[in-house]
Symmetry: C2
Subunit: 299 residues, 2 copies
């Protein structure tokens, strides 16, 4: 049996803190030092930017989360850059969460799982969408347990209109996102997914922008590791993120994307090399979380 | 203004019937004549299979629906084959619905829309997942209205566990899939998306496996074209599909994938060239739908 994703992620968190940096390479926000004179969206330049981010954050964060959309936007060359990035991250000791949010009927989910979890070049975990229910999720979970990889199922997303569908409440007052959480908790106990120390390799995406919902979800999903987007550019603070941790101050990893990887554009970083700016922002992000954890859990 | 997707699709349906063939290239089900002696998943062989399907169905169906998962499963070469396939389909006069089921927060949805709807090589329409609500959908809709392309939003999927999340009912008894349908109907009236003849370029995915739900949804979404999966291998009959059509016998397109593209394996096709088997199956599929429409709407 390969070491589980939950174990590998916990080891990385113990070493580097519960922090993940998102790789959302947007051409118009990348450092001019890289993009100047290049055709917009130039794939090798985007590859160089991503590698620069990896160098800047390696050893400071537990994981990186490349956002597939930005690579798919590059056309047929995009997936090659995404794959290379996964390999480069791994060589630098970073876990990789592929933010692909896939989801389909069982037979199709099997094909997605083959490409995104079973393949050698696959990331350590992927995000998936559970609107289709468990037969669309199980192929991903089976692939995860076979390969020691992980899955994060969308439960409560960080965006403003998350409420429209996710907050619909049933006759007993239970919202859709809690139903989804119960499904995630149940699926997370399937064979080969739950560790001896009670953490599942099936995690949940729970936006930092909704601390009240996160607190409720923490109770419904005691064994899930929460992947928490929404810190920084999306408006959530480190204190907001605390709702996603369990009583031991564990069980969550917070992601920041734009606030770290575009740090070169911040006034206080003026004149700094862009990779130094990213390294500084990653350190600040990690320290901010560590201090919030200390305030909240006395760690 | 480019001609709208809804108009182009209606023209194709008027000419070839409300039928779409799904391209789900699974290596283990492809004709031995093609796969023999080739390494499993060999990308050029898969490309040849897909082109053979296009040749067999061109002129007989309105559209084809390549399922992105099967191309992503091929690794970094997959997206190139998917793109080539879109181009080849178009040259044969077929509309292309890219079954990608993407969905993410607004800024990310914008990147997905850039790759999957704005790019020259993009298909005529894509499928998207609305679990994140409207801010994750609007970038796709804006890209569709700008380029004369379309979007099909998942409302009620064809798989067995569709009920788990989609059938949660609120205090008034209204299920999640009807809430999703109301959102789709409202978004489908945004500027540039509704045609003079009352059809929107924002359609809905409604599984043929749930005729009762489809009938209810037809009332909630009068302006949507329904993309109807589930016929054939998933168990729905042509009569089941009729619930997705409006009173004029229009407003829907039915998809069949496995029952058409793997027709060579059917006993009654034994000894037939695999492309002839597919052409025969596509003709039967189309005739089956035409007869059901005649029975139901007297067309």
């Amino acid at each position: 049996m390969p070491e589980s994703f939950a174990q590998r992620l916990q080891t990385a968190i113990d070493r580097h803190g519960p922090v993940c940096v998102g790789l959302d390479p947007r051409w118009d926000r990348m450092p001019e030092a890289l993009t100047k004179g290049k055709p917009p969206g130039d794939p090798p330049t985007i590859g160089r930017f991503c590698e620069g981010v990896l160098d800047a954050v390696a050893g400071q964060v537990a994981a990186v989360k490349p956002q597939s959309a930005y690579f798919e936007a590059l056309g047929p060359q995009g997936p090659g850059i995404y794959s290379r990035l996964i390999d480069q991250a791994r060589r630098r000791g970073l876990l990789v969460i592929g933010d692909v949010k896939r989801g389909d009927i069982g037979s199709t989910a099997q094909a997605y799982a083959a490409g995104h979890l079973l393949a050698d070049e696959a990331p350590d975990a992927v995000t998936v969408n559970g609107y289709l229910g468990e037969d669309g999720l199980i192929p991903f979970l089976d692939a995860a347990s076979r390969t020691g990889r992980g899955v994060f199922i969308l439960v409560r997303t960080s965006n403003p209109s998350a409420k429209q569908i996710q907050d619909i409440t049933d006759a007993t007052g239970k919202p859709v996102y809690v139903h989804m959480a119960e499904l995630v908790a149940r699926l997370g106990r399937r064979e080969g997914l739950l560790d001896a120390d009670g953490q599942s390799s099936v995690g949940a995406v729970v936006g930092a922008t909704w601390p009240d919902e996160a607190r409720a979800l923490r109770k419904v999903m005691p064994e899930q590791i929460f992947l928490v987007p929404g810190y920084g550019a999306q408006g959530a603070t480190a204190d907001d993120c605390m709702a996603s941790f369990n009583d031991a101050g564990r069980g969550a990893i917070v992601n920041a994307s734009r606030s770290v990887i575009y740090a070169h554009a911040r006034q206080e970083m003026a004149g700094m090399d862009w990779t130094d700016a990213i390294a500084t922002a990653a350190r600040e992000f990690s320290a901010d979380l560590r201090q919030a954890l200390q305030r909240r859990f006395g760690q």
